[in-house]
């Protein structure tokens, strides 16, 4: 598994089970907590009055900052599910959660289950959608010389605070969208691994001609200028790293491309940390292998115990009898 998949397998499994049970006439009683990356908790439960209607609630760290990005956040989420019958937002979200969808199992379609498992991605995608929209406005302005001011830095920076001290900054301008990840490592070893990986992200594009169409990646210790306006209030910490992705129009021309770009960007940090952990696991297995070979060498140095003639008896397979 090289890539993390955008959909939440557990949401899919739980909903499919509930759907099957409801089809066969014996609806399940559900009260399940499901988690996702970055302080995201989902809760699947029966609605208070009807067992065939499920509530899917989400609570996530990024919610607050995403909803501050612009108007129409709830409408955006609603539009993702309006095409499916039986799915509707619940007016008052469940206690302790940010957003609640009610899912009528009788009308549920398999496609809808996949879309429901993408709830977190859809939530994150709002900020990106706004940026895509602003990009198209800005690029139209740039083509019209009358209104073009000549500067490339006119877009607004949107900030997604998706973890306690980590943020994503999205800045559209008339020819590109810049996405900046601010990361912070809690562990010293991770920092070293992370540096190697990030350097590799930056260099891979230079080395391999076949991936020239991939977004450009930059890596720095200082906040990039695009995000500097938002960063000034914050004390620049030594442990902070900044990864910048530069998206051009070819990365978000069609809705499919937009979705795929958003998935990759939204999962970038998780992908990155997953691979740090995988490399550690790989190194551990190499270390175990090496220790085994060393032990073999050491065992070679052991002296065979002297046979005391008739004192030692052996079984037919050569084992010693101890008595």
């Amino acid at each position: 598994m090289l890539h993390l998949r955008p959909e939440n397998l557990l949401v899919q499994k739980t909903l499919t089970e509930a759907w099957n049970a409801s089809e066969s006439g014996s609806p399940l009683t559900l009260d399940r907590v499901i988690s996702d990356f970055d302080y995201t908790t989902l809760h699947v439960s029966n609605s208070p009055d009807n067992k065939n209607v499920l509530w899917l609630s989400i609570k996530t760290k990024a919610w607050q900052s995403v909803s501050k990005c612009g108007d129409g956040f709830l409408e955006h989420l609603q539009s993702k599910y309006s095409g499916f019958s039986g799915i509707a937002p619940v007016g008052q979200p469940e206690q302790g959660y940010d957003y609640t969808l009610s899912v009528d199992l009788a009308q549920l379609q398999p496609d809808a289950i996949v879309q429901l498992s993408l709830l977190k991605i859809h939530m994150m995608s709002f900020a990106f959608q706004l940026a895509f929209h602003e990009f198209s406005l800005l690029s139209q302005q740039a083509q019209d010389p009358a209104s073009f001011s000549g500067s490339n830095d006119t877009g607004t920076v949107r900030q997604l605070q998706y973890r306690d001290d980590e943020n994503i900054f999205i800045k559209p301008s008339n020819d590109r969208i810049t996405v900046i990840f601010e990361t912070f490592f809690q562990d010293e070893t991770d920092k070293v691994f992370g540096k190697v990986f990030l350097q590799e992200f930056v260099d891979a594009r230079k080395r391999n001609r076949s991936i020239q169409s991939a977004p450009q990646v930059l890596f720095s210790h200082e906040p990039p200028l695009e995000a500097a306006s938002v960063m000034t209030s914050r004390k620049a910490d030594k442990n902070r790293r900044f990864i910048t992705f530069v998206l051009f129009q070819r990365h978000f021309q069609t809705p499919e491309l937009q979705f795929s770009s958003v998935c990759h960007l939204a999962l970038f940090r998780n992908y990155f940390h997953y691979h740090i952990k995988c490399s550690k696991a790989y190194m551990h297995s190499r270390m175990r292998y090496r220790v085994d070979t060393f032990i073999k060498v050491l065992n070679r140095a052991k002296l065979d115990e002297k046979d005391d003639g008739d004192q030692t008896r052996r079984t037919i397979t050569g084992r010693k009898l101890v008595y």
């Binding site: 890539h3 955008p6 557990l10 590799e200 080395r207 001609r209 940390h273 696991a281 551990h284």
Partner: protein
């Protein structure tokens, strides 16, 4: 510190099945075989990706599949260009593996080989186990281990070195926020607190844990396993299934696959109080005989299998092993009695008083009641004998077998119950403690005092 609000993760890695889930849920989120299918070294790249696409759920884009080539580096002719590149020096074969049910289906192809990293409850292959955990955390549970506390289980008599290995993996590879390793038998005791029969939430009792391969009888006194008294019985779920299969074959039924036998075991079997009476009941009343219908996948053919005496004979091999095996002849109640008699005298009453069932093979109807009756008989006989020999009156021993609704995943459920309490995080060793003291920190965990 917002990881405090995230639910703890409860992982019960058994020999056969792994149970994964979040604390506070009533059942594990994932139950799948503890199996890992790794790419064979000789397998070509194309063979590997072919097998992976067939086992993936079809709705996913191939890009997010198990493929280990992000930009198809390996198949490109530009290999020479990449000679100075890390990815050119070594591939990503270590990421090409499946776990659980996907592993079983992937292993049917030629390019993956299946292995079970846990043998007899203990981790045998740490490389595979580390990757198994990696995939279960990131793919199935979708959690960032830095944000969550973990509760893992271990079999009784697990060497402390193994615990240290687990701690090294969880703290150093995964950087988990905190870790608690609990003994399975203790968690099974905790799971029994949901039963209405349990009044005091004590951690003293005898756990009968019967899974697929082996049945353990484990005495636990105040949260500590009495290791010297543990007894194993080589009769468990698989033996019952095989016994049913042999009965079906003897009778010449149409379908005698292991799968059919297993379904019959799960759906029709129960424990009776007296075999002779039960035989008579069956002969008098033909209603007792059942029919099991096997349909092929297309639902075009139907085979009707008669289910007869095996309904009560199959679970009977726990109580009269001689009907199925010729090398192990001690009935389960006797083994339980011997186990408790091997324990220190001051805890025996508590052990008789709280006999807890756990595992799928204890799910037969009336299993607990029969065990309680037989055991009571043994104990009462002994008391009567000692009374007649000594001439004094005994105060008597109360034998109680507790069955409850969560028996099948009792260990996991007990873990979920304990890990959702507010105190749980206080009992865990945190990453900071680990860095301060080192792996030997996990040799001791304070016990849950639920009073």
């Amino acid at each position: 510190m917002s990881y405090l609000n995230n639910p703890a993760i409860v992982m019960d890695n058994g020999t056969g099945l792994t149970k994964l889930g979040f604390a506070g849920n009533d059942s594990p989120s994932w139950v799948f075989p503890t199996a890992i299918a790794t790419a064979q070294r000789s397998a070509t790249k194309s063979g590997g990706s072919g097998a992976s696409s067939s086992t993936m759920q079809n709705q996913s884009a191939p890009y997010f599949g198990n493929s280990t080539s992000a930009t198809s580096f390996n198949s490109l002719a530009s290999a020479a260009l990449m000679s100075n590149n890390l990815a050119g020096k070594r591939g990503t074969e270590d990421l090409d593996f499946y776990i659980g049910n996907e592993a079983l289906s992937a292993a049917q192809g030629p390019s993956y080989s299946l292995s079970y990293p846990i043998r007899h409850g203990q981790v045998e292959n740490w490389d595979h186990m580390e990757r198994f955990w990696e995939n279960s955390i990131f793919k199935y549970l979708r959690t960032e281990p830095e944000d969550h506390f973990f509760l893992l289980t271990e079999p009784p008599l697990n060497p402390p070195e193994n615990r240290e290995q687990v701690a090294e993996i969880f703290f150093e590879s995964f950087n988990c926020a905190g870790l608690y390793i609990a003994v399975q038998a203790v968690l099974a005791l905790a799971a029994s607190w949901t039963s209405s029969k349990v009044v005091d939430r004590s951690l003293t009792g005898t756990v009968i844990d019967s899974g697929d391969g082996v049945t353990h009888v484990i005495p636990v006194a105040e949260g500590y396993v009495i290791g010297s008294a543990i007894k194993n019985i080589p009769i468990a779920g698989r033996d019952i299934t095989l016994f049913i299969q042999s009965l079906l074959r003897e009778r010449g039924e149409e379908d005698t696959t292991l799968r059919t036998a297993e379904r019959i075991k799960q759906e029709y079997c129960y424990v009776c109080s007296d075999i002779v009476k039960e035989f008579n009941k069956f002969d008098r009343d033909s209603e007792k005989f059942a029919q099991f219908i096997v349909e092929n996948t297309e639902k075009t053919k139907r085979k009707v299998i008669d289910v007869g005496y095996e309904r009560f004979l199959a679970p009977e091999i726990f109580f009269n092993p001689e009907i199925a095996s010729s090398d192990f002849l001690t009935p389960l109640p006797t083994v339980v009695d011997q186990t408790i008699q091997a324990c220190p005298i001051d805890v025996r009453k508590g052990l008789y008083n709280n006999i807890v069932l756990s595992g799928g093979s204890t799910m037969f109807k009336d299993f607990g009641r029969r065990l309680q009756r037989d055991l009571k008989g043994l104990v009462n006989n002994r008391i009567a004998l000692s009374e007649s020999l000594s001439g004094t009156r005994s105060t008597g021993v109360d034998v109680q077998v507790i069955s409850h609704r969560r028996q099948r995943n009792a260990v996991w459920f007990g873990g979920s119950l304990l890990a959702q309490t507010a105190e749980f995080k206080g009992y865990c060793h945190t990453k900071k403690d680990y860095e301060e003291i080192g792996p030997e920190i996990v040799r001791n965990f304070s016990l849950f005092n639920m009073v």
